[in-house]
Amino acid sequence: MRPWIKQLIPSMFQRRLLLLGAAAALAIALITAQLIRLTVFAGTDALAKAQSVLVDRRIIPTLRGRIFDSKGRLLAQDKPCFDLAVSYPLLNGQWAYEQARRLARQANQNVWHRLDRTERERRILQYLPQAEAAVEQLWDQLSRLANVDCQELELRRQAIRKRVEEMASQVWSARLADTLTDEAASGEPDLSKLFRPIGEQRAFHSILFDIDDSLRLIVERQIAQAEADPASPDLNLAVWRQVRIEKSWKRDYPLLQWTVQVDRRLFPGPLRSSEPLTVSVDGLGLHILGTLRNLWREDNFIREKPFFRRDNQGREHIDLAGYRLGDRVGYWGIERSCETVLRGRYGLIIEHLDGQTAERIDPIPGSDVVLSLDIALQARIAAILAPQTGLMQRQPWHRHSDQHSASADQPLAGAALVMDIASGHILAAVSVPGFTLQDWQNNPQQVWSDRINRPFVFRPIAQAYEPGSTIKPLILAAAMTEHVLTPSQTITCHGMLNPDRPLQLRCWIFKQYGLSHGELTAPQALAHSCNVFFYTLGQRLGGPTLVTWLQRFGLGRTVGCGLDQEIAGDLPSTPSSISPDQAIQMAIGQGPIRWTLLQAASAYAALARTGRWIQPTFLQAIGSQPCQPAEIDLALDPAAVQTALEGLRQAVNEPYGTAHHLATLNNEPIFTVPGLRIWGKTGTADTGYSWIDENADGQPQPQEVRQRGDHAWFIGLVAPENDPQPRYLVAVIVEYAGSGSLVAGPIANQIFLALKQEGYL
């Protein structure tokens, strides 16, 4: 103790008082400092934060735009409906447990705080059966009221739990991955934060959909009773507080199912019948329309365009066109690609709770989208491609080489597309096998992951195939425009390009029959589909010129048809790198070149328009705004186009044409619909085999080979008999099916008939 203090204050007691007072002063100073910090320095922010709860925002839902086909038929709309939803805790048993816990706690009120965990658990378990019985009774009641089988209800509950649990584990692992990268520097991840329940684990989930009014009234009355008496000890009543009637918008696709009468009088011989065949098609245009899904919390839509966001300064921003958890969003197809158009904007009521004033921003409904599709035509084509007709089944007269692959008796896979040549509008596009909306809703995983049938792939735009002979008209037009072939010039086929090397670059006729085509004019060469003729053109054009022309025709890039699934196909992006040998192969549609049905159709349509390429599209109009497809003049020599079209005409109409008759069915004609003028080209594209790498070793084993053989092509142009200009284009591909003329030709014939039946021809 310093003496001066002792002298100043002689009393020890008083000195001790001062010591205590000093300690108190320290505490007071600390508190005062914090008080000043909070009120003066952080006061403005705190006031803003406190006032933020005074504003109550209510979101007014908006209507998603409708989708129509080109004839004004409604394909998709929002339809109001009522769903019955139950809380997730009720589904996974958490509610029952909590009720049991509450009861146990009530019964052991005086000792509860002294019990350890195990003892509490033991007492809770005594009450659990009681709570679970209440839940069971609810399911029984709902099953009876909604006339849904108890087991069906149980399946739905399991499905929801499975879905939510999978979602949670995905979200958790995404969070974990994020955290591991974020916190690599800052140490331990916070597990309780990582694995906190996701929104779906607290939310209500619909279990009965689109319920009728009588059920709704009964349930609403039950809920109201339960709400009116929140303190009721009756669990059988309380359980109804976990039930909700949710007003929802159901996305309704009214025209997914059609029943079509298929006229079989013009079918190829063995399939022909005077009896029409009734075919029910389901999931019609589903690849094109798409459907909706709900957003989850970690969704990119929410990350990139959030409805509500707080910036670094803590200010709030609301984007009425933004996304919230649980919003519906297009999954694929038009619903996805036109998402921003269809979506619309939320409305908002901002209520100031202190002043009882409210502002209102009205919602803006989404714009309607009109497709170029004619859904009736689409239905007819889907029926033609259905397995029942036999056209998409392996037939003996198909002359198919592969009898051994695993899928020998499976229906064939393939696609067909119809385009209006003048506008580039796609009138129909069918992909088989497809899937139905029920398939998708019940088991999306199966639709996604079926690697054998790949029903989810929309083949007309999302699958590239070797063009085979279908590339030849484009090569001819290019060669004549480039003056490497004059209109009167002929080329002689000896069965092979180079007689010195008879094992290489042979014509198909030599391979099959040991024959040659002899001297051919250009149209004859197309009609015969002579390989030697086009090998020669490929040789003369050279790789760079040839690939440049194919690029002009739209190969090797996406053309922007209005759907996101579209792919670019294969074409070397650097024309200069193409060797002369590759050019020769590419001239008959083999080698490093693959295109989609859409690319093939738009290239042929450009030929039919004498060199004017128009962007093919599924979209006719968005809102009241017609879509303007892009146009490119390919600068083709009109004489070259005329020669190519003459070749296409001969291929169908002259006895020597590859698309003239069915060689294995008594030479009966392929195209039998009267009153039509038809141009066309077959293709039988060598494609190796398809296999599924089941043991993931990167090497195909014999048992992994699914299919082998050639893709069968037919691309045809058609007009009424008295019309010299092609009006519509029909493109057909059948995978691993063999001959283009035998397999694809008869299908195209039926599509011509369908066009006629629908009044196009």
Binding site: M1, K6, P10, S11, M12, F13, Q14, R16, L17, L19, L20, G21, A24, A27, I28, L30, I31, T32, Q34, L35, I36, L38, T39, V40, A42, G43, T44, D45, A46, L47, K49, A50, Q51, V53, L54, Q109, N110, V111, W112, H113, D190, S192, K193, L353, D354
Partner: protein, 403 residues
């Protein structure tokens, strides 16, 4: 010397008056703040009830002035025994709920039909009186072994209160013990070492809370989470905003929203209503005061407490009677510790603990205990200057003298 002549001395100016004025000021501010809470709730009549209780508390204060200080010292042990008995009744198993109701999972109340009160409030005063009586003519607390009895006196009620469980009130007892021992002249190195030990235990527990998983905690889970919530809030985190940190974050926000001058009654009530601050009338009354009257209001309140404490210490300073000295120190330590902890937790400096703000918070027992302390201050202030001048707790001069 008769009681009357003793009381006459009170009419002259005396620090006890200062304490009373400060206490009344605090209670009035508190009542006004409670009326704001009433307004926010829309239906409440807590403020007028609080004024009625003030009258009861003032009556109790008057009663505390009456007995002679010597008699107080005489009663101290019996009073202590009584409060220990009452505290035991609270936690005895099998006591009917009509007598000991469970509120907020705590058995802190004794319901005597006409009135209900918290025995722990009585225990506070009784413990101070008992410890003062024990220490008043002693010097063996200047040895380490001699500290055992004072610790016993304080820890008996502490343990009983902990069993209610009421951690907040229990925590006050060690603070008061250390303050009284310091005043009574215990060796600073003993007190320092014991404090260091306590701090070490605290630090170890904090480390356990912060670094070890839930399964290895010593405190109850909700207590662990409150500490975590406070640390997280102080670091600007949002993990506990809707759970354990909710009350504290709302309290901090609302206190801050008051700014320099505070908001009007209407505005404050509106913010209070829609921000839903739990226990706004009770444990969390201080943020309401700051919301309503801003930093100025907050400083006024802390200023009034400072005046009250200083007045108490002044009475101790001037008094020569060792019993009176220690009682005044003990009472001011109780009031100070309770105030400081309450304000610190409502401003986010300490984890949330259920503890009221003396004189301000709504609640009869708390008010009663507060004004009884004031009454005791008057009582001691009315004491005639002692004729015997044997110095109390002046050990250094005594030791010097023996040298």
């Amino acid at each position: 010397m008769g009681t009357w002549s003793r009381l006459q001395r009170l009419w002259s100016f005396h620090p006890a008056w200062l304490a009373l004025v400060a206490a009344l000021g605090l209670t009035l501010i508190g009542t006004a703040a409670i009326s704001t809470v009433d307004l926010a709730a829309g239906t409440g009549s807590l403020a007028s009830q609080q004024l009625q209780r003030l009258l009861v508390a003032l009556a109790a204060m008057a009663l505390c002035i009456l007995p002679h200080p010597r008699r107080l010292a005489l009663w101290a042990y019996s009073l202590m025994g009584l409060s220990l008995l009452l505290l035991t009744v609270l936690i005895l198993p099998g006591v009917p709920e009509t007598l000991v109701p469970v509120r907020n999972a705590t058995r802190a109340w004794l319901n005597l039909g006409l009135i209900a009160f918290q025995p722990s409030e009585l225990a506070k005063i009784a413990a101070v009186l008992a410890l003062a009586r024990y220490l008043r003519h002693r010097d063996n607390h200047r040895t380490l072994r001699g500290l055992l009895a004072p610790f016993l006196i304080m820890f008996l009620p502490l343990l009983l209160i902990l069993r209610e469980p009421d951690l907040g009130t229990a925590l006050l007892f060690p603070v008061v013990l250390f303050a009284m021992l310091t005043a009574a002249g215990a060796r600073l190195r003993h007190i320092g070492s014991l404090l260091a030990l306590a701090l070490l235990a605290l630090a170890i527990n904090l480390a356990i809370i912060w670094f070890l998983p839930d399964s290895m905690q010593i405190l109850k889970p909700y207590q662990v989470n409150r500490v975590r919530a406070m640390i997280d809030l102080a670091r600007g985190g949002d993990r506990y905003l809707t759970s354990e940190g909710y009350q504290q974050s709302k309290a901090i926000t609302l206190a801050g929203a008051g700014g320099l001058w505070g908001l009007g009654k209407e505005r404050a009530a509106t913010l209070l209503k829609f921000n839903h601050l739990p226990e706004a009338h009770n444990d969390m009354i201080f943020p309401v005061v700051v919301l309503r009257w801003g930093l100025i209001g907050g400083l006024t309140v802390t200023g009034l407490y400072t005046i009250l404490i200083l007045a108490f210490l002044r009475i101790a300073w001037r008094n020569k009677d060792p019993f009176a000295r220690l009682v005044m120190v003990g009472l001011s330590a109780f009031i100070f510790a309770q105030t400081a902890i309450n304000i610190a937790m409502s401003l986010g400096l300490l984890p949330v603990i259920g503890i009221t703000l003396p004189f301000l918070s709504y609640g009869g027992s708390s008010l009663l205990a507060g004004y009884m302390s004031i009454g005791l201050a008057f009582n001691f202030a009315s004491q005639a200057p002692a004729i015997i001048t044997l110095p109390s707790f002046e050990f250094d001069t005594a030791e010097l003298a023996t040298h």
